[in-house]
Each structure stands twice: as C-alpha cells, then as structure tokens.
Amino acid sequence: MTPRLFLRIVSMQVRKLMSYRMDFWINAVASFFVQLGVIYFLWQAIFRQTGRPSIGGYTFKGMIVYYLMVILLGKFVRGADNESQMSREIYDGSLTRYLVYPTRYFIFKYGERLGDLAPALMQLVLFGSFLPLFLRNSEIEISFQSVSMMVVTLAIANLLHYLLYCPVEGIAFWADNVWSLNVFMRLALGFLGGAFIPLSLFPEGAQRVLAFLPFPYIYSVPVNVLMGKLTVEEWLWSLAVAGGWCIVFGAITRVVWRRGDLQYTGVGI
C-alpha cells in the first residue's frame, strides 16, 4: 500500500466520524465531565475518610490527573471503539469487498483506526486545558522528555490494543456474534489495565504478575510515563514487553484469520 493511499483511508475515516458534529461534541463534552465527576467524588470520599496525603503513590491531585489522562489518552489507544466492525463485516459478508481492494485488509483497517484518532486529538487539546488546574502545587512534573516517551508508548499501546482485538474478532468466522467477547475484552483491559483503579493499589503479588501481561501497557503505563513515574530503564523494559505482546498477538491473529478465511463464505453479498 502506498503512503498516499494509506493517508486517504485515514482522512476518509476522519470525515466519516465528524459527520454528526453536534451529537459528537455533546456526547464528548458531557461524558468527559460526567466521568470525571464520579472519579472526583469517589476519591475525595476516600482521601477524606483515610486522612492520608497519598494512596498508592498518588496524592488527591495526582489521582485526578491520572484518571484525566486515562480518559484522554485512552481515546488514543482505543480509537473510536469500533472493535466489532471486523466481526460485523465477516457476519454480513461485506468483508468480500476488501478482497478486491488493492490493499491488505489489516492495513486498511489500521488506517481507519488512525483516522479515528483525530477526534481524540481535538478532545485532548480541549480537555487537556484543564490539566494546569490540577498540576499547580502538585508533585507531578510533565516534561518534554516524559511527553516524548509517552508518544512512543502510546503508539505501541494503540497497536497492541488493535492486535489484542483482531483474534477475538476473527472468532466471528465460526461464531455469528462476538459482541459479548468484545465487551469481555474491554472489561478485562479496563480493570487489569488500570483504567478503573491505578494498578499501584492492587496487591503486590497481582502487580508483579500483571507486569508480564499485556494489560498494563494499554492505560497504566502510558499515563505513568507521562506523569514521570517511570525511569528510562523501566520505560525501555515496558516497551520491550509491550512489543513482545504485539508480536505474539500478531502471530495469533495471522493463524486465526488464515483458518477463518477457509471458513468464510461471503453470505449476504
């Protein structure tokens, strides 16, 4: 695939996503504040109850910044939450049209996924403007170095998230509906990835096991890299583990989709 064609796919997806501007922005703005509201009150109650200055290595302000970043950077990792698109295409037979496109299916889909990131970027700029409110008088220092490290981590997290879903979507070659499995994955990634609670609050044994699994590299690691909580050595190690999981899930995807291809009948076209 030529870079020009790839960019065209990305821009097409951006336009598609922005076609319902009003409800997109109403949903984006309102759900941001709604999400942050629950988090704010929950942790305010916990910090007030315990009277401790920090929990799991986060002060109250640090905790809010952590979740704020999970919400905003999480959108970069997940794209537009279109995971079930591939399984739908297998089910309704529209996968067939990609077979005649002058490009590979997974690259095409990844291009669309990158297009999904444009609204996330706009939201990051808009809502990220609240960040200085929480950074003032806090222990968090966001530096040029931490931002650069975060960008690399985020790119790998996005790819890993994509590859984690590909084999699950491929199950649609055998099962008609994999929606429940997608929700299952989203829950597992959210909880074990640190989107629901920072992983430093988990029992130590669980933290040690999780460090070798792909989950923390989806939300927790990119946010902690930005917040300057990882040394360069720890960061490099996290990239190696996440990259290793990308290779593993890339291989699993290949096997599942090759076998699935043999099952595919293109019904519905």
Binding site: D23, F41, Q49
Partner: protein
C-alpha cells in the same frame, strides 16, 4: 391489560427460541456478565484495602450494595437493554414505522419486544449473589426490611429504564445512531457508587432530577437505616414524575419523527 401480558409471554417464547439459534453467543454473554460481576466486587475489594469506610459504608454493606446493583443490571439486561440498544437505529432507519402501525402502544413494543433469554440465566445468578450477600451480612437485617429492599430494587429497575430512555429519545432530533447514548452510558456510573460519596448539588440531582441514587444505593441505605413515610413518598413522587416526563418526551419525539427511509 391481559392482552399486553399475553403479548409479553409471546415475546419471551420467541426470544428463547431465537437465543437457541445463536448458542455460542448465549454462552459468551454469560461469560461476559460473570466477568462484569467479578470486576464490580474486585473494584471495591481493592478500594477497601486502602480505606475502612466508603460513604459511611463498610465492606459488608458495600457487598450488599454491589450485589443489589448487579441484580438490577441483570434485570435491565434481560428485560430492556436489547430493546433500547436498537431504538436509535429504528428511529434513524425509519424502522419505527413497523411499531407505529401495530395495534399496541409503540412505547410498550419498542421497550419490551426483545426479552434477552441469554441474560435470564445471569438474572438467576445475580439473584443468588444477592442472597449470598444478604446471608453473609454479620448483623440480622429482618425479613420485613429485606422485603422492602427488594420492592425498592424493583422500583429502581423501572427508574433505570426511564433514565436510559431519556438519553435515547433525543435521537428523534439528532438523527444519528448515538443519540445521547454515550452520556447515558457514562452517567450510569453514578448508580454504581454509594450515593453518600456525592455532595452538594450533585447529590441533590442524583435523588431528584436524574435519580440514579434511588436505583440501588438508596434502597441499600434504607435496608440499613429503615424506611420512613417521607423516604417512601420521596421515591414514589420521583418515579411518577419521571415516568410522566418520559412519556411526554416520547410523544414529542414521535411528533418529530419523519420516518427517514420510507
């Protein structure tokens, strides 16, 4: 009235035979809900590793609250969720026409047509979880209080449905497949936390205009603190007001409906 009950029994029968056609999905869904239950308990378990109380509740009380919310969610998933998921698509594609021309209330039809047979098994599991949570509570709660608690949870599931509808009906004007679904989805998280953690106008909103606190948290609070006439009247007034508003809003939406594709 009986016509509607008979119709609902037909819906249930059709749903079970349809669910049996997609057996793999049937089990995937059970699997997914089990994980969700596990995550709910694990979340609070981890929180309580760092604090003895949350919103004035200890871990045993929060376990009952979580089990109550799980039961409520299972009711919602079984009875309403599938139907409400498709509502924006029906409005957008003009498929709502099929429901408008039938000799039954369109609101009844679009809200209850699809009974999720695969979630029904989870409803049984959720009931067992609540029974376990109540049984393991260290102090006696009393049969009367438990009965009132269950009655209030029943009212809570109606409230949950009404709140969901309020975020979907705007699709009549927005003409997108989303409506305000995303906000509705996020706002539900307020029902998943004890209402005592919220303060000021947010708490006032959660017990009145958007009564998510009355869904599971308030019934659980009443289980521990007792029901007074004022509290019962409060719940009843909120449910009646919200139901009337939803029906009015739905009718306004129908007037704006233009049958997009026909």
């Amino acid at each position: 009235m009986w016509r509607y009950v008979r119709l609902y029994l037909h819906f249930v029968r059709f749903s079970f035979s349809r669910a049996m056609e997609f057996r793999v999905d049937f089990f995937f869904r059970i699997f997914m809900d089990c994980l969700w239950y596990g995550v709910q308990f694990a979340f609070f378990r981890i929180i309580y590793l760092h604090t003895p109380l949350l919103g004035g509740w200890n871990l045993d009380q929060v376990i009952i609250f979580t089990a109550a919310f799980i039961l409520l969610d299972a009711v919602n998933m079984t009875v309403f969720a599938n139907n409400l998921w498709w509502l924006p698509f029906f409005i957008n594609r003009g498929d709502l026409d099929y429901y408008l021309v039938r000799p039954v209330s369109p609101l009844y039809f679009v809200s209850l047509r699809d009974f999720a047979a695969n979630s029904f098994l989870n409803l049984v599991m959720a009931s067992a979880i609540l029974w376990w949570a109540l049984a393991r509570y260290p102090q006696p709660l009393g049969a009367g209080r438990i009965l009132i608690f269950l009655l209030l949870l029943g009212i809570g599931s109606i409230l949950y449905y009404l709140i969901d509808m309020l975020f979907l009906i705007p699709t009549f004007w927005f003409h997108s497949h989303m409506g305000l679904r995303e906000i509705g989805f996020q706002i539900r998280k307020y029902a998943e936390r004890p209402h005592e953690i919220f303060t000021g106008w947010v708490r006032r909103t959660l017990v009145s205009a958007i009564p998510l606190a009355l869904v599971a948290s308030y019934p659980t609070w009443i289980l521990f603190n007792g029901l007074t006439f004022e509290r019962f009247a409060h719940i009843l007034i909120v449910v009646c007001a919200l139901f009337s508003f939803m029906v009015w809003f739905w009718n306004r939406g129908l007037r704006a409906y233009s049958s997009a594709s026909s």
